[in-house]
Amino acid sequence: MEMPAPDAAVLAKKALLVERLTAVLPADAVIHEERELKVYECDALTAYKCPPLCAVLPASTQEVAAVLKICHDMDVPVVPRGSGTSLAGGALPTADSVILGVAKMNDVLETNYDDRYIRVQTGRTNLSVTGAVEEQDFFYAPDPSSQLACAIAGNIAMNSGGAHCLKYGVTTNNLLGVKMVQMDGTVIEVGGAHLDAAGYDLLGLICGSEGQLGVVTEATLRILRKPEGARPVLMGFDSNEVAGACVSDIIKAGVLPVAIEFMDRPVIRATEAFAGAGYPDCEALLIVEVEGSEAEIDEQLGLILQIARKHDPVELRESTSAEESARIWLGRKSAFGAMGQINDYMCLDGTIPVSSLPMVLRRIGELSKQYGLDVGNVFHAGDGNMHPLILFDANKEGDLELCEAMGADILRLCVEAGGCLTGEHGVGIEKRDLMVAQFEPQDLEIQMKVKDVFDPKWLLNPAKVFPLASSESRRAA
């Protein structure tokens, strides 16, 4: 992956920069020793590493503003970082950048059950937002797989989704307001505990802008009362096509499950070997979960099972206890770990129209043969968000490049099928140069003009989202 050459003038300013940062932050919040900076050299896209110039860990919005003002005045790029769990390289530093980590800012500022929101500092992890309200039987809905570790800051930057967004939406649908520091140190507040915005929907624009418009330090999040119960059913099918048709029929029948998860044979076999969840050995497996009271669950699952039976399932297993529910989810939840046991893998994130599912899976199989790399598919089928996992050997010369080339082909296929490059992980550096497959030059130009408004010097999270060639003139200016 090509990254722009570091700016020698910025590198030369390191001593002065550290001095100025130390003047506004406690000494232990400014990290500049090479040895200590290794922690920040990559995120969860570990194939790419680059230590930053230095890293700062501010503890308040005021400190974030002070840091950004200094960097703005000194023309130093800044890479915001939540917990560093991005699979897209969203928090990958450049050698001439300052990493701004929000990890120290993890307080709950306010909980309000009458108005159903929580206000938190954005370094707080996703799961601990729910943790703060679950005693009152409330929860925060977006649930990315990395929810134990990932920070709300990163969730907002990438507009993260999760397994349950078919019913509850993604981050942008659950975000009510933010406090954000702009690159020049200006602090703005957008939205709040009330619904809707006056003026343009800046909140919607900020969410998913990959840390390129500002650093979000506080967030007001919608919280919901937990459903009375939830129950999954597991279905095995003889072919991906039939499983895909079943998904489509369930949706058409008027039921809205809270999750529909899909796994293909390579993933089923890998998870069985790894977790032993007792899955049937079949081509395709669906986990469909519904919520409500016992009677409501019975009513919805009755309809879903009736539809599934029409597709001649090889297995149909309704959970009858919490333990069985956990076993049904066990394999799905350990799928990534299981694939990781077999080999290194690259996890893609393209979304396709659900109707194209069989065609896209067939083409992915063909690409797998063509490239000689195994692929497993595990994904959120209800919304078409695929997660093909391409297996490769990082220690084998040329394998990473081969894997990337195949990944690019799969993502182009998603776009051709009417979908997009990324459903919930973000563009980062990983899909940056593929943006031209989905967008015309004017589509990218107007997005870059949005960045011009918020960050005229183009210092925030450089070399991400936009193809390097498209953004070159702005970055060089």
Partner: protein
């Protein structure tokens, strides 16, 4: 008047425009400050481009009548999730609401509290910016984080950032059964407290409103589920006196259509304001509003207030956060007070965006302030 029938012609009309353009969909929601300019209508950009019931998605050209979309969806037992209100009777307008107009004004209804607003279901747009460039953002899939989210930005931008030519939505299954549950004789304070309790319950209420002393709740879903939740809510509400349950689906439809469209203030003289607040702030604000007649939706988060003509509601209890939109007034009042609540801290960004999207300032100039 320009009335392009293709996106290409729309682009040419904007590119070649020599003066301000007044953008119009169906003309049923003349919201915003008055605009002078040549009318550019999207009425001929009409038709459903793609509808996939199995993927819960629809794509339509901006000028497509809303009714045409709703009819197509109803045939497959599906619907737009956000229950867009109809402004015709409130504003005394005629014509045919278009889907593009719904998006441009980010219209929702009582279901906002459960399913979000128009922008929450909108998954893709195509539009022509003020320079005549044709731009797409988002697409036709439910989950998409590829690049910046201009889809949300375009929703509620009232044609001032670009003229929308095509929109895509995610959909929801149709409603099998519904019921309305009501509690009588309450003050705004009691009403908001009752609504908070119900909205904090697991019974998935899709409407919570208060008017004329009655607190109303709506539940929707499968028949057995309605029976169950209705009984649960009756128990929960029994602390507050007699509980009425309306199980006739036509009656429920009528009740909530009247709430959505604010029927109570249709043929009433006076200015009409739409106020968005934190629900628990609603009782205090309603008390401050004094003589104004009010109706609450969204559990108290939305206040409709009918006032003496020319009253500046923004001057009342300004410490209560949120925003206050002047929906109906004569032109002089609109010119004096402005339709939208200014947000001083964000003015530079809003103006900056407008300058980038419409450098000549020809699209609905002045409409949003």
């Amino acid at each position: 008047m320009f009335e392009p029938a293709t996106e290409q012609h729309l682009s040419e009309a904007i590119r070649d425009a020599s003066g301000p353009l007044k953008i119009r969909g169906g003309g049923t929601r003349p919201l915003g400050n008055p605009v002078t300019g040549e009318v550019l209508s999207t009425a001929k950009l009409s038709g459903i481009s793609l509808y996939e019931p199995g993927a819960l998605t629809i794509v339509a050209q901006a000028g497509t009548p809303l009714a045409e979309i709703e009819a197509a969806l109803a045939k497959e037992n599906q619907r737009l999730p956000f229950e867009p209100m109809d402004h015709r009777d409130m504003l005394g307008t005629q014509g045919t609401p278009t889907i593009g107009g719904v998006v441009a004004a980010n219209i929702a209804g009582p279901r906002r509290i459960q399913a979000g607003s128009c922008r929450d279901s909108l998954i893709g747009v195509r539009f022509v910016d003020g320079a005549g460039e044709t731009i797409k953002n988002g697409g036709r899939v439910m989950k998409n984080v590829t690049g910046y989210d201009l889809v949300k930005l375009m929703a509620g931008s009232y044609g001032t950032l670009g003229v929308i030519s095509e929109v895509s939505f995610k959909l929801l299954p149709g409603i099998a059964a519904s019921a309305t549950i009501c509690v009588e004789g309450r003050s705004p304070e009691q009403a908001v407290a009752i609504m908070a309790r119900v909205l904090g319950s697991p019974f998935e209420v899709s409407g919570a409103a208060f008017g004329g002393g009655r607190v109303l709740f709506r539940i929707e879903g499968f028949a057995q589920s309605i029976a169950y939740r209705s009984a649960q809510l009756e128990t929960l509400l029994s602390d507050y006196g007699a509980v009425g349950v309306e199980t006739d689906p036509d009656k429920t439809r009528e009740i909530w259509s009247n709430i959505a469209n604010v029927a109570a203030f249709h043929d009433t003289p006076g200015d009409l304001w739409r106020i968005s607040v934190k629900p628990s702030d609603a009782p205090a604000l309603v008390a401050e509003l004094g003589m104004a007649q009010t109706m609450l939706d969204w559990g108290g988060g939305l206040i409709w207030a009918l006032t003496e003509p020319g009253t500046d509601l923004r001057a009342v209890a300004p410490e209560i956060k949120g925003h206050r939109t002047l929906m109906r007034a004569d032109d002089a009042t609109k010119a004096k007070l402005g339709t939208f609540h200014p947000e001083p801290g964000l003015a530079a960004i809003n103006q900056g965006l407008r300058a980038k999207f419409d450098p000549r300032g020809i699209l609905n100039p002045g409409l949003m302030g």
